[in-house]
Structures are given as structure tokens and as C-alpha cells.
């Protein structure tokens, strides 16, 4: 089963949920798809020993001798990755979406596509949890397109594993890429107006993708939770877990320790959370049959 953990707002606790859940189950594959800022490895204490795989995308290179400055390619490019300046064709690789249109349209064969590294995929080993398979994607600084990195990372997912994907915050393309193929979406929010506002965006996204979803309220406080609970009831989103706003949890987080390791009972709660999700996914399957 594939489970994606996402949130509209950053800093709500996606990493906390992903890591603590992964450490509470057996036969897990954890994929950190927050490729602009992967940080699961910090809480896991993961070590990267094997060489990383490079993620490449194709970008145009120009043979200026063959280029006749016809500008067809510049006009074709919807992303403005090309410019013609004083008969010199310039390429802006960070903007390019690798569609290959420029090389197709060039009447003189002046444009060839070449690979360019934009990120990497690495496997981390977690001391004491050798059974937990962990991979992360990482976008190179300065690159603008995270999707190819997320895409290559997700190709590693194994059907026989409990695959947990930690998606990028927000609802842009890299988040959608990490979410679209999942069996279930676990949305993480906090009981604040910002948390609610961005949760609504994430719920919209999940709805449009036609996926099942459930909610985790992090930094939960009974006096403020109604903000989220009322909305969840309104849209029919089940609340599957509340993580209390507690000093002990914050202290452990600050020290880089997943709280399931130190606080009794929480492994069982995360394990129950997973069982609930499995039940909801299989209910959906039996209903649709």
C-alpha cells in the first residue's frame, strides 16, 4: 500500500508523522519526497553510505554555427527557456521543462538535447532499524523543477512494502506528483487559522485527485481544535489521530529524537492509525467492486 503524507501548510508536522509512523511499523519503505528540503534523515539519524543516483533532465544545446536565428524555437517555448539576442541563441536550463519541442521544430538541426543533473536520490541506513528501507530525493540548489526528482524517487516504491511518502508542503506540482499514485492521503494540520486555510487547499487537491484521505491534528489543544474539527465534519474528513501540544514532544523534536522512541504507547497509536487507514482503503475497494 502507498500512503502519502501531505499538508497545505509547511511546518505542521509531516516529517514528524512520517518518521514516527515509519518507526512504528514493520516492512516499511519511507520515501522523503520533500526534495527541496528533505529532512526525515535528521530525525532518523540516517547515514548515507552508498553513492547517490543522479537525476537528469534533457535540455537543449545549441550549435551556433547551424543556427540561422529564425527564432522558431524561441516562439515555440511556452516557458521562455530560450532567447535570441543579436543572433545568439541563449538557453536557460533551469526554466526548461524538457519537452524537446525546440529540437523538433528547428529547421537546421542546430538544437540537440543533452542530459543535465538536477538532483539526486540517496539511500539512507538507519542505525538500529536496518529493516526500515529509506530513500530521499534532493533537488540541486538553484534548480526550479522538483517533479523529475520526485518521479524518479517514486519509481523505487515496492508494492510488497508499506510505502510512506513524505510530500512537499503546498499544493504545487511536486506535491501532486508525490500524491497522485497513492492509495491514501494523510493530511497533517495544526489548529490555527493558517493551518485551516492551507488544509482547505490540500483537501481540494485530494478531492480533485479522487483520493481517500484522513486527518492528523498536530499540536492539538482541546480549546483550539474545534476550528479544525468543525471543518473536517463539514467536508466529511475523518480525524484519525491527534498529537497533543506537549512540551515533551517538542523537546524530543528539538533534540532530533522521534517521540515514539521515548514516549510509551505512541508506537501502538501509530500502528492503530495505520490499521485504520488499511481498513478504509480496503473498504473503498470492496465498495467499488
Amino acid at each position: 500500500m502507498q500512503l502519502t503524507i501531505l499538508s497545505g501548510k509547511g511546518g505542521t508536522g509531516k516529517t514528524t508523522v512520517a518518521v514516527n509512523l515509519a518507526l512504528s511499523l514493520q516492512n516499511v519503505q519511507l520515501l522523503d519526497a520533500d526534495v527541496e528540503e528533505p529532512n526525515d534523515y535528521l530525525l532518523l539519524g540516517a547515514e548515507f553510505k552508498s553513492p547517490a543516483q543522479s537525476v537528469e533532465k534533457l535540455i537543449p544545446t545549441v550549435d551556433q554555427d547551424k543556427c540561422t536565428a529564425c527564432k522558431l524555437c524561441v516562439n515555440f517555448c511556452q516557458y521562455n527557456a530560450l532567447a535570441l539576442m543579436l543572433d545568439q541563441l541563449l538557453v536557460f536550463p533551469e526554466i526548461c521543462h524538457s519537452c524537446g519541442g525546440c529540437s523538433q521544430i528547428c529547421p537546421t538541426g542546430a538544437i540537440k538535447e543533452v542530459g543535465r543533473s538536477l538532483g539526486k536520490i540517496s539511500q539512507g541506513v538507519i542505525p538500529g532499524y536496518s529493516e526500515l528501507e529509506f530513500w530521499q530525493g534532493e533537488l540541486n540548489p538553484g534548480e526550479e523543477q522538483a517533479v523529475p526528482v520526485v518521479n524518479q524517487l517514486l519509481k523505487l516504491s515496492k508494492v510488497e512494502k508499506k510505502v510512506i511518502i513524505d510530500a512537499q508542503p503546498g499544493i504545487r506540482c511536486p506535491t501532486i506528483e508525490a500524491t497522485a499514485g497513492s492509495d491514501f492521503c494523510l493530511l497533517v494540520t495544526e489548529p490555527t487559522p493558517f493551518g485551516l486555510s492551507d488544509l482547505k487547499l490540500a483537501v481540494e487537491l485530494v478531492k480533485q485527485l479522487g483520493l481517500k484521505a484522513g486527518l492528523v491534528i498536530n499540536r492539538s489543544e482541546p480549546v483550539y481544535d474545534s476550528l479544525i474539527i468543525d471543518y473536517a465534519a463539514e467536508v466529511g474528513l475523518p480525524i484519525l489521530l491527534k498529537i497533543p501540544f506537549e512540551r515533551k514532544i517538542a523537546e524530543l523534536y528539538a533534540r532530533g529524537i522521534p517521540f515514539v522512541r521515548e514516549m510509551p504507547g505512541w508506537q501502538a497509536k501509530f500502528s492503530q492509525l495505520y490499521q485504520t487507514i488499511v481498513r478504509r482503503v480496503s473498504d473503498e475497494k470492496s465498495n467499488s467492486n
Binding site: E36, V74, Q78, Y79, N80, A81, L82, A83, L84, M85, L86, Q88, L90, F92, E94, I95, L139, N140, P141, G142, E143, E144
Partner: protein, 127 residues
């Protein structure tokens, strides 16, 4: 000399200037004694590569600029404008309108930009 100015509105010589280049609403050109010509900046509405699209417009008809007056230029637009051999001068808060910007340039009051002033989002990634 053909002077291009980044603009926030299309109101002839009294148009307010825009201090950002790539996403400026309009681009205007002032050549010698002829009235200013103003076009919509094609970069303004682009999903990506706004600066590159705006730079492309600066070198092409009807603008065909030799000099650009603007507030700040992102790194990609900078690279394109330099390849197009544009001389770029920086507008300040003192120049409010197209006419004032051109007058300040002609009086030699504007500073020529020699490096891209704005790092752009791309250069901030990873920090």
C-alpha cells in the same frame, strides 16, 4: 538613442515607472523627439521566464532598445540583456514617470548597473 523604460501603467509620458523589470506591466520606448511608444510587457503574464520574455521584447521591434531604465533585473534577464548589449541604468524613487526617467537619464543622473541587482528565487534555493 532608443531608451526603454519599465512601466506600471500605459499613460503616455506621464506613465508611472515600474521598479521591477520582468514583471513590469508595460514597457515603453522613447526615441529622440518622437512621442513615447508603450506596449504590454509579454513577461508580465508568463508562468515562468518572465525576465527572459521581457528581455526578448526589449531587443525586438517595436522597442529595439539600446538603453534600459529600470529598478532591478533578475539574473536570467540580466544574462539575456547583456547578450543583447543593452546598457542598463537604475531608476530610483526620485523618478516617478516615464518623462522624469528619460530626463534623469539624459541629465546623467542615473547610475549604470554592472551586476544583476536581484538574486532571484533560483539563487536563494537551498539556503
Amino acid at each position: 538613442m532608443r531608451i526603454v523604460i519599465s512601466l506600471a501603467e500605459n499613460e503616455g509620458e506621464t506613465s508611472k515607472v515600474a521598479l521591477q523589470f520582468g514583471r513590469a506591466s508595460y514597457l515603453g520606448v522613447k526615441a529622440d523627439k518622437t512621442p513615447a511608444r508603450i506596449i504590454v510587457n509579454p513577461g508580465q503574464s508568463k508562468q515562468s521566464g518572465a525576465g527572459v520574455a521581457a528581455a526578448q521584447a526589449v531587443v525586438e521591434p517595436p522597442l529595439q532598445g539600446e538603453v534600459l531604465l529600470t529598478g532591478s533585473v533578475g539574473p536570467k534577464a540580466w544574462q539575456a540583456l547583456k547578450a543583447g548589449q543593452l546598457n542598463i541604468y537604475q531608476l530610483t524613487a526620485a523618478e516617478k514617470t516615464l518623462a522624469e526617467a528619460v530626463a534623469a537619464f539624459e541629465a546623467g543622473k542615473l547610475v549604470q548597473l554592472t551586476v544583476s541587482k536581484k538574486p532571484g528565487l533560483a539563487n536563494k534555493a537551498g539556503f
